[in-house]
Amino acid sequence: MSELTLAGALTDALATALDKDQRVLVIGEDVGQTGGVFRITDGLIGRFGDQRVIDTPVAESGIVGAAFGMAVAGLRPVAEIQFMGFSYPAYDQILSHVARIRNRSQHRFSAPMVIRMPCGGGFGAAEHHSESTEAIYAHIPGLKVVIPATPYDAKGLLLAAIDSPDPVIFLEPIRLYRLVREEVPEGYYTVEIGKARIETEGSDVSIITWGAMTHEVREAVEVLAADGISAEMVDLRTLRPLDEDAIIDSVQKTGRAVVVQEAPKTAGFGAEIAALIGERALYSLHAPVERVAGWDTTIPLKKAEHRYMPTTEAIVAAARRTLDA
């Protein structure tokens, strides 16, 4: 056991995978000597060499496309896209090829690969560096979409993603990279993809979220608790395949739901959760499902970013509305 940040847990996961499985390799911009802009690959090139930790030209479509080819040929590439906002040039490769080769070839070929990308805002970054477009990946059959919120999950989910026979979009909430430290087991372990985590059990209202927003939701749960309101916090961890049962069980128990996402509201992944609850748990609902989300604007730059980010207060208020309804 060692106390690791989420970032540290990811580095540990990569080192563990590289060590365990000769087929694993890391590929991306600046992942070598510098260890990536967030230092997630720090030290790996020294330990595993430049044939397994590969610095590439600045070309995201190329990175994903080459990693795809490697996966088809039997390797287990872990591609890093420097920021989620730079994954869009690779969107065609991801949607048309990575996600589809198993179907296109009826299992003859497959693409067991991981595409890691730091995501989310809240740290005053430059344009395009604070994206939360998980919905555009979660919509695509053939992909798995994973987003850890704790150091323990980060390592276990990344190891599970690398082991997955199918491609995984692995989203890393930048704001959580170094927010807390947690005991993380040494060596190999996995956290199952497709299973949500109930962080706090509660009986009055379910608050469903993923990624960096777990931070605000956790705070909101505390504020509500102080007020005698028992909120259940559900951290989805995997957006695709979705742990529908965990969501429905929770809402059937509490009868109220708040869905919290950082992405702009319209057609975000929270819509799927709200729709699902309406479909499978309507008769349990005592109040409309509340969506707390970013506004339908581009996430503002540093000076106005705070106006955009869903706040603890907004989550608390939404939870209260479900109770007052």
Binding site: G62, F68, G69, M70, S105, H107
Partner: protein, 360 residues
């Protein structure tokens, strides 16, 4: 001699193009202007392959017209470019090609019936037999070349001697992904052969509207890569250039771009009407350059061709293709299992719920 061979009628206005550095071995009359890279027996074997490819192609067009294929993109006129290049591969080499490359894919072991399935709107058309490492034909233009780079790179990293060849058209060179694939191959010296069939058109757009560079071959220079233009209707030139590229790749000397200049004699697909955008005169002139006739004449000059043999070859080709059609058409349509079962290695719970709805 050389000069005449290098002149092409090309482009929307039937422009005359002369490419002096184009590799050429067999002239229009089937006479050697260089040294034959393969012996007579091999040439006869490849001649049979050319004939069989053309038989498949004609059948493809017919079947589509009869509504028995969903779409068909004729390769008529490009047989030598495909057969000649694929002949230079080892059986275990990888291939990543397109909707128009049935000849090359078949040469590398992709069965005719599976190719037919792929054109009939059946997912199983993307599944070649085990040990045939040929990817399903790429429909997106441009995206697949980097796959060949990644595949061959993986082989290099794993220390095997397998290389990858990728086929694409003149139009595909305009996509950003072409550039990224070429650049990665250059930087990482991957054992990749880029085989561009410059067939004069991308749907309706003539080659000279696709890029302002004189040749496609010269684009290799931008990536520190060897590039060469060959007469794509000259079986020997295509074979030889590809063989050299394959050997270089296998020897660890990196990738090569080959521009095989050929001509799309037919429409883009069976839905397309070339009359809208090119002078039929062009198609007539292309007949003079027929890639198969040239080999036939060569064999004849060499005393290795006669009408009886031709008949036998033609008959065999047509039986083979008929048999493939029967095989492809005897299959039941894909089941819900085929569709739901191939999204992931295992169906996820939500997908299984949907699957059960369909099958119940």
């Amino acid at each position: 001699m050389k000069d005449i061979v290098a002149v092409w009628w090309f482009g929307g206005d039937s422009r005359r193009v002369a490419w002096p550095n184009m590799r050429n071995i067999l002239d229009l009359e089937g006479r050697l202007v260089g040294e034959a890279p393969i012996d007579i027996e091999t040439t006869r074997r490849l001649y049979r392959a050319l004939i069989e490819t053309r038989a498949y192609d004609k059948k493809g067009t017919t079947l589509q017209r009869q509504g028995r294929l969903a779409t068909y993109a004729p390769l008529l006129g490009q047989e030598a470019a495909q057969v000649g290049s694929a002949a230079a591969l080892d059986p275990h080499d990888w291939m990543v090609a397109t909707y128009r490359d049935a000849g090359a894919m078949w040469m590398q072991g992709y069965p005719w019936e599976v190719l037919l399935l792929s054109r009939s709107g059946d997912e199983r058309g993307g599944r070649p037999p085990v040990h045939v490492d040929v990817l399903p034909p790429s429909i997106t233009v441009g995206a697949h070349m980097i796959h060949a780079v990644g595949i061959s790179w993986a082989e290099k990293l794993q220390g095997t001697d397998r290389i990858a060849i990728t086929y694409f058209g003149d139009g595909a060179t305009s996509e950003g992904d072409f550039h990224e694939a070429m650049n990665f191959a250059g930087v990482f010296k991957t054992p990749t052969v880029f085989l561009c069939q410059n067939n004069g058109y991308a749907i309706s757009m003539p080659r000279e509207r696709q890029t302002a560079s004189d040749t496609i071959a010269q684009k290799a220079d931008a990536y520190g890569m060897v590039g060469e233009q060959v007469d794509g209707n000259d079986l020997f030139a295509v074979y030889e250039a590809t063989k050299e590229a394959v050997d270089r790749a296998r020897a660890g000397e990196g990738a090569t771009l080959i521009e095989a200049v050929t001509y799309r004699v037919g429409p883009h697909t069976t839905n397309d009407d070339p009359g809208r955008y090119r002078d039929p005169e062009e198609e007539r002139l292309a007949l003079d350059r027929d890639p198969i006739e040239r080999v036939r004449r060569y064999l004849e000059h060499e005393g290795a061709w006669d009408a009886d043999w031709e008949e036998a070859v033609q008959a065999k080709a047509s039986t083979t293709i008929e048999r493939a059609v029967e095989l492809a058409e005897s299959l039941l349509p894909p089941s819900p299992e085929d569709i739901f079962g191939a999204v992931y290695e295992e169906m996820s719970p939500d997908l299984r719920r949907q699957f059960e709805q369909v099958t119940s």
